[in-house]
Symmetry: C2
Subunit: 323 residues, 2 copies
């Protein structure tokens, strides 16, 4: 026991946990002893009483998709400021795994959970939000118990479509992500943006996995069905890059024969051939905001049932040469 070293017993506890009722001198003495003996409080015993641990959960569908590491970096940086460790859950957008991640996090007494949930229905998420602070990323939610931090996909989609249309394109296709059930949000944004220009794009949306291969496959499907397509808008940069690849294999030049525009602006996209025109979002800031929003949830007691926080992060067009 550190008791032997200093003088007291769980005065140590008082010192370590910064409870007011302790004299500066005693506290200093304890801290010295702690440092000298290399004492480490047992996190299990502590958790047993407090039912909390200094951990925050980050839920993503595929850590190998470079989009997520970028926001993860923001989550790490923000977590570090708070003295939290971060446990990451890779769900592959599977409903059970998304749920399992959340269950584990409440078991752990985590400080909160943030992440991308593509499969869990809104009501279930709301249920979890009652057990721990939860902030959902990139999803349109209506349940008042849920807080969200999303890139402005609707605005970004409008920007992309406007840009393409202003470039003379009318036969524009969209490569949508086929994972989870959140699909419609983005598809709707696209169809809507097209409708503003008097264009009916409801039949020009084709889905695929949100990665390079999925983008390529979706592009082939799109062109087979609508050979007149002169521009494609990707759900993300990965799909857009896959489109470029597929287009070339089909013998169509980019952007000459068909323009391509992405979403996210991965660091790499500017190095692509051709450099990808895309909708930029600040991924690091997204991660930071996700955990910062956790702070705002806490004071209320539980999951912010009172006033859900809904943050929309601005995005902007980055013109390069693919469109």
């Amino acid at each position: 026991m550190a008791k032997a070293a200093g003088v007291s017993r769980q005065t140590v506890s008082r010192a370590l946990n910064d409870l007011g009722e302790i004299s500066p001198g005693t506290r200093a003495r304890v801290m010295d002893a702690v440092a000298a003996l290399g004492y480490r409080p047992n996190m299990f015993a502590r958790g047993m009483k407090t039912r909390r641990s200094d951990v925050v959960g980050l839920v993503v569908s595929d850590i190998a998709n470079p989009f997520y590491p970028s926001v993860a970096r923001g989550v790490f940086d923000a977590a570090r400021e708070r003295g939290w460790n971060v446990v990451i859950y890779n769900t592959d957008a599977d409903r059970d795994r998304e749920a399992a991640a959340l269950v584990d996090l409440v078991d752990r007494g985590a400080q909160g959970a943030v992440g991308f949930f593509y499969a869990l229905p809104e009501e279930e998420l709301a249920g979890f939000a009652a057990s721990l602070p939860l902030v959902v990323a990139d999803r349109r939610l209506t349940n008042p118990a849920l807080s969200v931090v999303s890139a402005d996909f609707v605005g970004g989609t409008e920007t992309a479509v406007d840009y393409l249309v202003s470039g003379g394109h009318r036969e524009i296709g969209m490569l949508d992500s086929g994972v989870g059930l959140a699909v419609d949000e983005r598809r709707d944004a696209f169809v809507e943006a097209m409708a503003r220009h008097g264009l009916d794009a409801s039949a020009s949306v084709v889905v695929g996995s949100p990665d390079l291969a999925g983008g390529a496959a979706a592009t082939r499907a799109l062109l087979a069905e609508r050979p007149g397509t002169t521009a494609v808008f990707g759900f993300n940069d990965l799909m857009a890059l896959g489109a470029v690849r597929a287009l070339r294999e089909l013998g169509v030049a980019v952007p000459g024969g068909c323009a391509v525009i992405g979403f996210d602006d991965l660091e790499f996209s500017q190095y692509a051939d051709p450099p990808l025109t895309t909708i930029h979002s600040d991924k690091h800031e997204h991660g930071v905001l996700l955990v910062r929003t956790l702070d705002d949830l806490r004071p209320d007691g539980k999951g912010g049932a009172a006033a859900p926080i809904r943050i929309s992060m601005p995005v902007r067009l980055v013109r390069r040469t693919s469109a």
Copy 2:
């Protein structure tokens, strides 16, 4: 208590932990009750006795560097097979943070730690290996208490140099990573490989941060010092890509004016302009092997002091058009 549901008390414990001394019937009844009541064992209480938790730690220097997520994906997949969660530590190659990660992991009673340690000296790593199963990635280590799974950097470097030399290059520069203290390993491999061709490259190695910007900066420095350079070998694909960018800004064509070759073969590298010639390694498998090696460490009791495991993963040249 689940006791009320079933019949007994910590017969529940026996059932849950699969201890032999229990009748199949009782066990089934308990499991049913557990499922019905949605009972979740308290991990803190359990950890208090066992001093273990089903967690594995992954230590990386920068999760936003796309190399790490690729191996992380392998770590996740392997961890999932074992029912482990993974907590990731982002160290920025800082010695204290590398140590803090390991300290936290032993506090947590983690099943093990794997990762990239660039700053912690070998002896300190060995110290930690006595407290938990530890597998170090991509580093040449001599301490018998330490196990390692590394991509074959020496072999890959030879391959790259041989390839460049066979292409007629003699003035070859290397862009080395400036993080951590493991620098010399790779630099040495390069100088050595060059020496085999009778080339003295000791003055052609320039360091930078192991990312796009670092590669660009290092390249500018290299060319300023050795204008005759006709080929550069990057520590990783990121630096190589940065080199391509810098070269172009300097008005030198790639590979016409200067060839570039990378290391790792990130998924993106084939989409780069020009597609990057590089040394390929199986990053997913690297992650899988890292945690699999943890299994091999466990039986021995502690950190495998008896027989250190040293795995070298094969790499191969992928010819594209940058070199």
